[in-house]
Amino acid sequence: MGKITYKRLKGSQNMRQRLLLATLKSTPVLIEDIHAGDTLPGLRPHEISLLRLFEKLTDDCLIEINETGTKLKYKPGIIVGGSHLVHDCGFSRAIGYFLEPLILLGLFARKTLVIILKGITNDSKDPSVDTFRSTTFPLLRHFGVPSEGLKLEIKSRGVSPHGGGEVHLTIPTVQHLTATMWTDEGMVKRIRGEAFTTRVSVQLGNEMIYAARGIFNRLLPDVYIASDYRKRLEAGNSPGYGISLVAETTSGCCISADTTVSYPRGDEEEDIEDEGKKELIPAADVGEELASVLLEEIEKGGVVDSTHQGLLFLLCALCPKDVSKVRVGKLSPYGIETLREIRDFLDVQFVIKPDPSTGTVILKCWGSGMKNLSRKTT
């Protein structure tokens, strides 16, 4: 009936957070100039896929895209969730790209979300599905999400370029989150991890594990890296290997790092053939590098790693009207962007104070008072 006033935004940056926050706060948004200057203007395939996913989960949402795909009108609906959902994430971004907004969306849905996601499970750009299982879910527990309902099963793994992975995700709904005071980062007590290979020699996996252990062993004896070597159907369509590591601290923080090595996705079909000949990084180097990355994350400090900063801030901002306080390492660009989006959408600002003695940053915020409005009362 009444005229809808859209919040006007520009560019495709932070599409995920923007759409997520718009949906949670049910603000209609109008995004212009999406890749307007590029040779291939308009929305990218993964962005379209993301929109599809949002459409699938919500009721009565309205998505309008102009012909060139540079302008997007999004009027969010009510988050419904539900089971028996299947979504093909495509091959341009990994499942991790979709999982980040999906988790928050699922928490504030009407019904428990059970969804099958197909596509690339591991990739170097996005956090891998292993990381979600090992780090993100424990993170949610700090905000009052029951850990029983959270489930992520990896049915098959798929790496770029051809994907073929499949994960089953279950996310319970919550009435509201609970604010947290989470500044104690503790000390690393154990390191866990998972190395996987698809359609390559199992030996590569073992090499990665060996190399990674070699670095950790000087610091900590409690290191266990599991191996997950997939075969046949479970291994997806492309060869690749990767490793994800998690450092657990005495105070229950999980700091993760992961990477995947596979053949990159070419823009055209022929390129794949050419690049197929390119040599991949040796497995031993991958293990060593990733172990170093993890140590670097640990060095930065904070209760989460740099990858999870955005999610952490979002969770803090979506809490009830209480004070949340968290400590993170150096603010990552993604985290900063998220903070800005939170400010724009939820009107929640963080008090950011550096702690120079440790090189960490302490963030405080007054939650937005978000409640799950779509859940039915009895």
Partner: protein, 1223 residues
């Protein structure tokens, strides 16, 4: 007998017990003995449980009772000073509402209130303020009043009894969260008969109790003394009010709201002159209640609509609580009150000015003087004269009040106010210039025009004009001010904040500024102007101001007094004298911001501005970011390339949460590298690791200090002192270490104390907050979960308070918004002019904040129940007016009920005594919100106006209500088990839609729709070349159907819920007019004199069924011949013409005839015999039956006796046993 009857007429002599003498002695003796024996025989175990079952039952009952008492603890997130409690006085007309308020105000403040208009705030005690509001008498006003009432005083005319208004209001209260309620009976002096009075009281009390709860307080006000309620009773009532506790209500604790106690039009007058019906800008003042208000929040003004806030400013409290000095009760002088709408506040605080009005009869100097005062404005008066004048005018209470109250010329949070103002000024720049040229005329004319209105213009002038000569101001104000006492020319002293700076202490200043001391004002006028210009220039980034601001900086040192955190800032400004304070405050603000250096990096400066002005267009967020980054160049140690890269205009960067780069990794194999993080592992040094966390508290406080910023405007750099000092040498560092250590120790101690303190103290605090106090202690130990829950809440509260205390005022405002209890000034733009035109102070304005997602419209599903006092059921799609949350709107619901299988079936009418679902379209409200439905808003209606109550279940964008549909068709051609059905569908497309659907004939033969009938089979066009008839379906059945069968298809069809809602704009029309919205069908019919359409087919008629005639079964002869005898038809029908054999005559032989006759005789005899026997048997049977009946009766009697006997026996036995047990 006769004697008895005679005695009956007399009254008996009452029994007189003996007080002395023998019998009296005997009695007392017996009594004493009895008591003694009682004491001796008292058995402590006498009342213990003997029966196991009984004990268990009682125990479970006790537990149940306890559990019933528990409520889910509610988090009260209002920290700090509470806003005044709203006491709504409600009742039918002529029951004494205004009088009650007047007497209460008189009781509290010793002031006579001429008339009650708008909220009246008073200080009722050391810790408590009250705001009295009279509830208007229309249903809209009642609904609004119910939404802000903390306590409702229901006035009831005792001589008349309850009226519908009371019950309606109670119902409204119940739906919108039940605040405290107290009944007050008035007009009790009309009863002459004491007994009757007592009875009536009793009756009314019990009726009141059934409505609320047993024991609800009903207060009696017996009659009037000198036109006022008796002092003692009012005092008691006030006592009751003062001890009342107000539990938090869930809707209100989650939404900010303001009861507007002052309302002003601030539209530029030119705009109004050009077009008197232009949209207006208004300011609304009131205490913030409920929860914190953020600057970006949208608001709903009840009866007007939704608006975004153009500006919010925190003002100093016009009616502050008495100072915390230890004394018993508030002194009379501190019993302040504030009622600007009633024209009585004496002090009006605006964003940047304070107005004092004094009633004429308080001004004691001569008229000549007064004239001089107004006319000689321009001249400087000498100091002594001014002093005398001021002394003359001093009225004790006012004086004291002023001394008491904090007149902040800057609002409490300079940051926001300034910025808000900046924004306003930007927009008002052009009109202001014009105003400066001819201000006097304009205001005078305005004054004349708007005399009937309230003091809009006065505020306007105060707000915006700068160069207006003082006398003109006064004049206009005097004229404009409230109607009633035009002759009592009210004087308005206009005290600009600059005056304060002139003299140092601002408070004093305000006292003198009461309309006489204008000489001072005048002297500072130029400076004022200068300052204002300065302010304007600020916005324009005028470079010419730089020198001045430098001066400010230097002079910004002396601060003499501080009244608390909030005043610190102001005091410093005071010290500055007459130099540009805007600049100074900017500098100050900036210096405050130093500690949020990183915040600037992340948010840019836009963080503060964007939130202050809510009306800014949202789409410029992008520009802002880039702009502000240039504006403030961080000099911090962390140069974040990545951020700049993101800001630099690349708006299409890929979003990727991972940000590690493999190339920049350290070589972690090297020993010194990996040893550097050794302490982060459990294998490292635990103490160092632990220190990391402890350092946090101590460190952060210090961090606040370092970090510096550069004001690009002035070109100067502000560097924190500490940084400078730190460069001095290592001594400082050592000191720092020592300090840090001390601080750590202190912190540890504090934490220890806190933990201890929380544990012991929290339960008691909770009782104060939530419970009635007496329950709590008993249950503290047993209900573990409940206690845990409460403890958690309390803990969270403490954490919140602690964390927020850490922040400075500016940041805190940004983070948590305006706190509850603050006196706010809201500016709203583009309000329809009717709101101003039809404003009526007797109808309080409610401003409610809109929560997350509540501005959206959609379908809502509610569980609704028709009110049992409403006489009719409600019809689907008839418009009703609902009140949800803050809103009232008209909408058209569709009623439904949930079937067993979860289907929502539409109902044409609401059930009579049952809940049903109601789905309607409108602005969304969160689940569990109460809904109240009204159909008729008019006042002249005797019946109960509330038609239904409901609560929101969920939002549903896709309205899934269905109704039953029956498609009827007739066979047009029948094959064996297939038939073509016509008239069921109208097109082949429709047939396709229903393929596979189950159908049935009337006779119960089931079938299925197959496909649209093809042309070839039986569906030929009537004329060749014509189009085939559409919509004929081929269906199959389980048996062959008949042409006379009717085939029907039962299905469910979706019902559309109309997308209609119409907000009630009752504030935009004269109050006495009833709001007109969409009419119900019945109303329309009545208006147009239309009869109700009837469907003839729907009538019930007697069923006429023709007897079915069946054709005879014909078996072919050939077949019949072959049949065995059994199957051969035997009932050969009667022939019309008898057969030849029958027709033949029979002639008997004589012998044969004899035999035949004999046989006939014999048969006759036998028949006769049989008849006789039958008769005999009949008689015999009757006799036997009679006998049996008799026996039966006897038997029954005996049985009953037996039974009685048995029961008696049993009862005796039972009694015996019981006695035994009890003994």
């Amino acid at each position: 007998m006769a004697m008895d009857s005679g005695a009956d007429g007399q009254s008996h002599k009452a029994h007189r017990s003996r007080h002395s003498g023998a019998s009296a002695k005997k009695k007392t003796k017996a009594k004493n003995k009895d008591q003694n024996s009682d004491q001796k025989q008292q058995n402590p175990k006498a009342f213990a449980f003997r029966s196991n079952a009984k004990a268990k039952r009682l125990q479970s009952r006790a537990v149940e009772k306890e559990q019933r008492r528990l409520h889910l603890p509610v988090i009260d997130r209002s920290y700090g000073e509470l806003p005044p409690f709203v006491v709504v006085v409600q009742g039918p007309p002529q029951v004494g509402k205004s009088l009650l308020i007047k007497t209460l105000v008189k009781h509290y403040t010793k002031h006579n209130l001429p008339d009650v208009r708008g909220p009246i705030t008073i200080v009722s005690g050391k810790q408590r303020r009250l705001q009295f509001v009279e509830c208007p008498n229309d249903i809209n006003g009642m609904i609004d009043a119910a939404k802000f009432a903390d306590l409702a005083l229901l006035l009831i005319d005792g001589s008349y009894g309850f009226e519908m208004e009371t019950f309606e209001f109670l119902n409204i209260l119940q739906v919108h969260g039940f605040p405290k309620v107290m009944g007050v009976l008035t007009h009790l002096d009309k009863f002459k008969d004491v007994k009757k009075l007592k009875k009536t009281k009793q009756r009314l009390k019990h009726r009141f109790w059934t409505e609320i709860y047993d024991g609800a307080k009903l207060f009696y006000l017996s009659g009037l003394i000198h036109g006022k309620y008796p002092k003692r009773e009012v005092h008691n009532l006030a006592r009751f009010i003062s001890v009342m506790k107000f539990p938090p209500l869930s809707w209100r604790t989650s939404h900010p709201y303001i009861l507007v106690d002052r309302f002003e039009d601030v539209t530029p007058p030119e705009r109004v002159q050009m077009n008197s019906k232009c949209d207006r800008n208004v300011t609304l003042y009131g205490y913030l209640r409920g929860c914190n208000l953020k600057k970006g929040t949208k608001i709903h003004i009840a009866g007007v609509g939704d608006f975004s806030l153009a500006g919010v400013t925190g003002l100093s409290d016009p009616c502050p609580l008495p100072s915390a000095a230890k004394k018993k009760g508030p002194r009379d002088k501190e019993k302040l009150f504030y009622a600007p709408m009633s024209g009585l506040g004496d002090l009006l605080y605006d964003k940047d000015a304070v107005y004092i009005n004094i009633n004429d009869h308080f001004v004691q100097y001569s008229k000549v003087d007064e004239m001089g005062g107004t006319t000689n404005k321009g001249n400087k008066r000498d100091v002594g004269e001014a002093l005398v004048k001021s002394l003359q005018t001093i009225k004790n209470p006012i004086d004291e009040k002023l001394e008491k109250s904090k007149i902040s010329l800057f609002s409490q949070n300079p940051n926001s106010s300034l910025e808000a103002e900046d924004h306003n000024r930007d927009s008002d720049e052009a009109p202001k210039l014009i105003r400066d040229i001819e201000p006097l005329k304009q205001y005078q004319s305005n004054g004349e025009e708007d005399e009937s209105e309230f003091d809009l213009d006065s505020s306007e002038s105060s707000d915006q004009d700068e160069g207006v000569p003082e006398c003109a101001m006064l004049k206009s104000e005097g004229r404009n001010f409230e109607e009633g006492n035009a002759d009592a020319s009210e004087r308005l002293g206009r005290v600009k904040e600059q005056v304060e700076f002139h003299n140092g202490r601002k408070r004093r200043k305000a006292i003198f500024g009461d309309g006489v001391d204008h000489s001072n004002l005048k002297s500072t006028d130029e400076e004022n102007e200068g300052d204002e210009d300065d302010d304007d220039d600020d916005d324009d980034n005028d470079e010419g101001e730089n020198d001045r601001s430098n001066e400010d900086n230097e002079s910004c040192s002396g601060s003499e007094f501080s009244d608390g955190d909030e005043e610190d800032l102001k005091s410093e400004e005071d010290g500055m004298g007459n130099i540009s304070k805007w600049r100074a405050s900017l500098v100050e603000r900036a210096s405050k911001k130093q500690n949020i250096n990183l915040m600037q990096l992340v948010y840019g400066k836009s963080a503060s501005t964007s939130n202050t002005s809510a009306n800014e267009v949202k789409d410029d967020s992008e520009n802002e970011e880039s702009d502000e980054d240039e504006f403030f160049k961080p000099k911090g140690q962390r140069a974040k390339n990545s951020i700049e890269g993101l800001d630099g205009g690349n708006i299409n960067t890929e979003d990727c949460s991972k940000s590690t780069k493999f190339s920049e990794l350290k070589n972690w194999k090297e020993e010194e590298v990996y040893e550097s993080i050794r302490d982060r592992f459990v294998t490292g040094d635990w103490s160092k690791g632990a220190l990391r966390n402890q350092m946090l508290e101590a460190k952060t406080e210090e961090d606040d200090m370092d970090g510096d910023f550069e004001d690009l405007e002035t070109g100067e750099k502000h560097e924190s002192h500490q940084k400078d000092d730190s460069s001095n040498g290592g001594i400082q560092k050592e000191d720092d270490d020592a300090i840090e250590e001390r601080r750590l120790k202190k912190l540890a101690l504090r934490a220890k104390f806190d933990a201890h303190y929380d544990g012991s103290e929290s339960p008691e605090e909770e009782t104060d907050v939530q419970n009635g106090g007496k329950f709590h202690r008993s249950q503290a130990n047993d209900s573990g979960y409940y206690d845990k829950l409460k403890e958690e809440i309390e803990l969270q509260k403490q954490i919140n308070i602690a964390e927020l205390e850490d922040l400075d005022e500016t940041t805190r405002l940004e983070i948590e918004g305006f706190r509850t209890g603050m006196y706010l000034r809201l500016e709203v733009h583009d309000v329809p002019f009717e709101m101003i035109e039809y404003f009526d102070p007797c109808h309080p304005i409610l401003v409610g904040g809109i929560g997350l997602g509540e501005e959206n419209v959609g379908y809502m599903q509610t569980r609704l129940k028709r009110h049992r006092w409403h006489k009719k059921v409600l019809k689907t799609r008839d418009p009703i007016i609902v009140s949800i949350g803050w809103r009232r709107y008209q909408t058209t619901p569709v009623y439904a009920i949930e079937d067993q299988n979860g289907r929502h079936r539409m109902l044409k009418y609401t059930p009579e005594h049952m809940h049903c679902l109601a789905m309607f379209w409108g602005p969304l409200a969160p689940p569990k919100t109460g809904v109240l439905a009204v159909q008729n808003l008019s006042n002249n209606q005797a019946a109960f106006r509330i038609i239904a109550t409901a609560y929101v279940l969920e939002f549903n964008h896709a309205a899934r209500i269905v109704k039953k549909i029956k498609l009827v068709g007739y066979p047009c051609k029948i094959f064996k088990k297939t038939a073509l059905i016509k008239d069921m569908f109208t097109s082949d497309l429709e047939v396709a839609r229903f393929e596979g659907a189950a159908i049935r004939t009337v006779s119960g033969i089931r079938g299925q729709v197959k496909k649209a009938a093809k042309e070839e089979i039986g569906n030929q066009p009537k004329k060749k070349g014509g189009q085939a008839r559409e919509g004929i379906a081929r269906c199959t059945f389980e048996d062959r159907i008949l042409m006379s069968d009717i085939v029907f298809l039962r299905a469910w069809t979706q019902v559309e819920v109309p997308q209609f809602y119409n907000p009630l704009t009752t504030s935009l029309q004269p109050r006495q007019k009833t709001w007109l919205g969409m009419k119900t069908v019945a109303e329309l019919r009545r208006e147009h004199n239309l009869s109700i359409p009837v469907n003839k087919d729907s009538f019930y008629k007697p069923v006429e069924r023709k007897a079915r005639k069946f054709n005879t079964l014909v078996i072919p002869k050939a077949l019949q011949a072959d049949l065995p005898f059994e199957s051969k038809p035997k009932n050969i029908p009667h022939r019309k013409r008898p057969l030849l054999e029958d027709r033949r005559a029979v002639v008997m032989e004589p012998h044969e005839r004899k035999v035949h006759a004999l046989v006939q005789h014999l048969q006759l005899i036998r028949n006769d015999k049989m008849k006789k026997r039958k008769l005999k048997e009949e008689q015999k049977r009757k006799e036997v039956e009679a006998q049996r009946a008799k026996d039966e009766q006897v038997l029954r009697k005996r049985r009953r006796e037996e039974r009685q006997e048995r029961y008696r026996e049993q009862d005796k036995l039972k009694k015996k046993i019981r006695r035994h047990v009890e003994a």
